[in-house]
């Protein structure tokens, strides 16, 4: 069974049993402990995770970086996979704690432009999901915008 499916099912089970959702911090602890248990088994999962969430109690967004060695760290912004080699420098330069949604989308556009310029595989575009206080939605994103080389 794949790891993400297993976690999803168990978090959903918790929500159903207790009629309340775990906060992102609590979810991150659960995911980390499950991954740590798997790491010490005969066939560990080799997955890296980014866990994003909105805590309705404190009204604060949270993002956790969990790697395949089951270390968990709260981070202000993140990228993983091949994309991190191209995106993190852009995010380092342009991220600021109190940017708004529009500015965030501008930074995302800078990231995808960089991927189109430099990624040595045929880059097809991105799927953008936004976590808000009302839930999670898919954000429409135009992939075919022309990219100019500097």
């Amino acid at each position: 069974m794949q790891f993400a499916e297993y976690i999803q099912a168990n978090i959903q089970l918790y929500s159903k049993r207790n009629s309340s959702d775990l906060t992102p911090y609590e979810v991150s602890s659960f995911v980390r402990s499950e991954l740590a248990r798997s790491l010490r088994s005969r066939n560990p999962y080799n997955v890296n995770l980014l866990l994003g969430g909105f805590d309705p109690l404190t009204s604060k967004p949270q993002l956790y970086w969990i790697d395949y060695l089951a270390s968990c760290a709260p981070v202000p912004y993140a990228a993983h996979g091949y994309a991190q080699y191209y995106c993190l420098s852009t995010l380092d330069k342009h991220h600021h704690p109190d940017i708004d949604f529009e500015q965030g989308m501008k930074i995302l556009r800078m990231c995808t432009d960089e991927l189109k310029r430099r990624l040595p595989i045929d880059f097809k575009g991105v799927l953008v999901k936004v976590i808000t206080k009302d839930g999670i939605r898919e954000e429409p994103y135009v992939d075919e915008k022309p990219v100019y080389a500097p």
Partner: protein
């Protein structure tokens, strides 16, 4: 850029866990659901 490797156009590597929590995953093919152990593509 064009290259020898082409990614699937519609590939959602995220899972919604509850109302306010989303998890994005990457890693080894068999563990992330891109391919099963039998080599069959799963999850469209």
């Amino acid at each position: 850029m064009r290259g020898p490797t082409v990614l699937k156009v519609t590939d959602d590597k995220t899972r919604q866990l509850n109302k306010h929590t989303l998890m994005a995953y990457s890693g080894e093919a068999g563990d992330t659901g891109i391919y099963t152990a039998a080599g069959d593509a799963v999850q469209g």
